[in-house]
Point group: C2
């Protein structure tokens, strides 16, 4: 009985990864965790993948390392910057970045997407989600340190419906899913809007 | 290592169910399966839930029963109609209907939603997804028997953004998620659009 991960769109990514015949190696860009939540890499670890993760911010990095130490689970999460991914070209079959890339400016997003492609093997799959312009961007974590460190006083980077397609040159987009969410969160009504991509590197 | 289920929005429903202290009993309305895919109830079975499912159509019912027999997994799926759910009031902590309710007319959807509420316990959770008016409704399974049996020559029932809210009187809506999907499916580009609800019965 595996633990259910809160980052549910990654289940579809995992399912598509597991349909391929590629080596089970995966990298998470922005692999830290918050509070009691386990790092999403746990999902892949539970399925027998060799997992690696990079995280630029202190607090989520500490939470993730503590989870690994407390549970004896080697997710291999360490400090790193997705604008300069510390791995060689074509290292991973699978790379993802969940709820992370939009903490950066659009200039940095372009750099990070180039890096994600670089470390992916040919025919490898990536998952990246973007914040939509339809997201009101008024969430509780709006003002936390991780956002302000990378964006300064700016807001999150938000994308129009087709705007992020440009990052997937040299990929086939297998799935693009816009999710417009209304939810009860700690007694308050929140709206969120994301655009998720699953894409396969052509060669 | 559990099998990953294709019906990924159910992972969020399962996660929310597992956060409650209610008995682990779940009913799937439209519980059949297609081709090699396991019935989605497997997801709950893997987590230790007592599972029950009803299915009105022959072929998905046979597929589901074959899966259970071949794998020795008692999901308890049998023939039944969600317009007359064959269980007593307040039997289940959790009830869901995934990609199923919109095969019926809107009149029947109202009846089925009333039935789902009836068999739910107070504070029990349900998941139901609806087809959005933004769905072009031109999928390969458009003309299959299960659709034509319930809808005759009509198209699927499709819903405007807030239209299905009315079915959740007496519930708190915990999550409402509109998903607008573009995907590659057997070499063709498909568009789909759904509106998913997770709701809690008040009393």
């Amino acid at each position: 009985m595996d633990e259910i991960i809160w980052a549910t769109p990654l289940y579809e990514f995992l399912r598509q990864c597991s349909l391929t015949s590629l080596d089970r190696t995966v990298l998470d860009c922005g692999a830290g965790s918050h509070g009691d939540r386990p790092p999403p890499l746990l999902l892949f670890y539970q399925q027998g993948y060799a997992t690696y993760g990079i995280e630029i911010n202190d607090e989520p990095l500490l939470h993730a390392k503590k989870f690994c130490a407390d549970n004896g689970i080697p997710l291999n999460i360490f400090r790193g910057d997705m604008r300069r991914i510390p791995f060689a070209d074509r290292t991973f079959s699978f790379v993802y970045s969940y709820n992370a890339i939009f903490f950066m400016t659009k200039t940095d997003v372009a750099v990070a997407m180039h890096e994600i492609k670089r470390v992916l093997r040919p025919k490898g799959l990536c998952f990246v989600n973007f914040l939509s312009v339809d997201d009101p961007d008024r969430r509780p974590f709006r003002k936390d340190n991780s956002a302000s460190r990378l964006l300064g006083s700016r807001r999150f980077s938000r994308f129009r419906d087709g705007e992020a397609d440009i990052y997937f040159r040299g990929f086939d987009i297998l799935l693009k899913e816009k999710r417009i969410i209304e939810k009860l969160y700690e007694g308050r009504r929140l709206k969120q809007a994301y655009i998720d991509y699953i894409a396969r590197r052509r060669r």
